[in-house]
Amino acid sequence: MITSVLSLFILLGTILESESSIYIQFFNGVYTTIASFFARKFEQFNEETISVKKKSINYMYWFKMIGIPLFTLTIFIILYQSANPYFNEIIQKIDLSFINLQWVLFTVFGYFLMNNITNPIEIEPLTTTDLKISNKLVKNETNSQSEESLIQENQLGVVLFVVLNSLIIFFLITDVFFISKITDLQASDLSKTVHEGVYALIVSFVFAISIILYFFRGNLNFFSKNRNLKLLTFAWITLNIFLIFITYYKNYLYVTHYGFTYKRIGVFMYLGLSIIGLVTTFIKVNKVYNLWYLFRKNFQIAYLLLILSTSINWDVLITKYNTTIAKTTDINYLIQLSDNNTFLLKKHVELYPNKGTSEETLNIETKYLDYIEKLKEQDWQELTFDNLKTY
């Protein structure tokens, strides 16, 4: 659902301004959906001249034309009701209970939303600024650093990246050594290694990208003697990517032993996004792009991954993997997943009746019967592929 709402906002933003960045499109979409009506109303006040305004909406006229006759009519109806019992009986028979005010409010809200969506409006200053900013970094001539300060900054960068590269090489060697011994470790050790390793990686990548962005924020990009600094930066990015692959491997080992969970899939996703972040940072430094390039590309790729991830039936994937490939299976975890894996679990119990405990088998049976019941109660609008399996 989150992806659908996000996509709707981005679609609206794209219709408004296809050239703008994806996050600006998102904000434009949100603004259009929630406030287009108010913004357009405000614009109307500005665009109308006073004379036109007077001509177009004369509230007093409409009050006189509708309000006064309505009020008078009501008074006379009340008077006639008490004067004539037959008239009173007819009036009493008028039943307005079919008007459901909640339904009216719901419809008005729907009209408000559709009215906003069909009349999109953009956040003007934000969109204009975004369109003006290109991805290329421009040499700052007015506030340029002196040659001496550039040399000093370049030297600091070289020293820092030499130290960081040495440290990460040493860390990688110890990590590879650790992986070679990992077969002797218990589940809790492996879990601790993967999770703590990932938390540490999150911080280290944020620092890594921040340090790179700091050094390549301005005129150092155009400094003629920055070749060594660039090479060391590329080396550091490559070593960081190598570090990600090692963590990937650790998580893979963990998954092959104990199966998939959403958290472990999340770790894979995060590691994938980290590689993308580092690659885009590499491109930024190599092609002399600015910070906006990083934001634009990374948000685009993250959104693309989100869309792709929604096309995968994760519950089925987790269940299939955990029951067929993983060395140990946590059936209770699989039972608490959505109904999507019910048929797979049922098949698993039928194939291996003695594999789980009797309680687990009973829980799977209960889940299966509940799901079958639910499928049978569904209307034709709710039919899914699973309904066919019940016949």
Binding site: Y31, I34, A35, N46, I50, L101
Partner: protein, 137 residues
């Protein structure tokens, strides 16, 4: 722009709007007599008037004072209104979610959002003399 007068008139309009919506919503959700609805309308009118004044003073006027020397009301509206509505909507949505989508919270915070957004339109709406000045420029 006469700030005090504008604040009071905007607060009065906002109070009328929110009280009207609230009474309408109550009449559809609660089994109340007409007398109760009239009472609800007048009590909420009084409460929302003071809330609206507070809301304008704390959430609208600061934006006005940041920009009033540099630009006109139209520019102020264009500059700040989008962010204000997004933040206001997010806060209302957040509260509705934390209240587990209870009917009463959806009702109250939807009305609060609509009133807050409409108050901006009323507050920054150019006055007739401002329009005339712009036309003559």
């Amino acid at each position: 722009m006469n700030i005090i007068l504008n604040t009071i008139t905007t607060a009065a309009k906002a109070a009328l709007l929110s009280s009207g919506l609230l009474t309408l919503a109550f009449s559809s959700t609660q089994d109340l007599y007409n007398y109760d609805l009239v009472m609800i309308f007048f009590i909420s009118l009084l409460i929302t008037f003071f809330i609206s004044i507070g809301m304008i003073i704390f959430t609208v006027l600061p934006f006005y004072y940041i920009e009033y020397e540099r630009s006109n009301t139209r520019m102020m509206f264009k500059k700040f209104f989008p962010y204000y509505t997004i933040v206001c909507f997010s806060c209302c949505l957040f509260i509705i979610i934390t209240q587990n989508f209870e009917e009463i919270s959806i009702l109250l915070f939807s009305i609060a959002y609509v009133t807050a957004a409409q108050s901006w339109v009323w507050f920054f709406k150019p006055k007739k003399n401002e329009l005339n000045n712009e036309k003559t420029k």
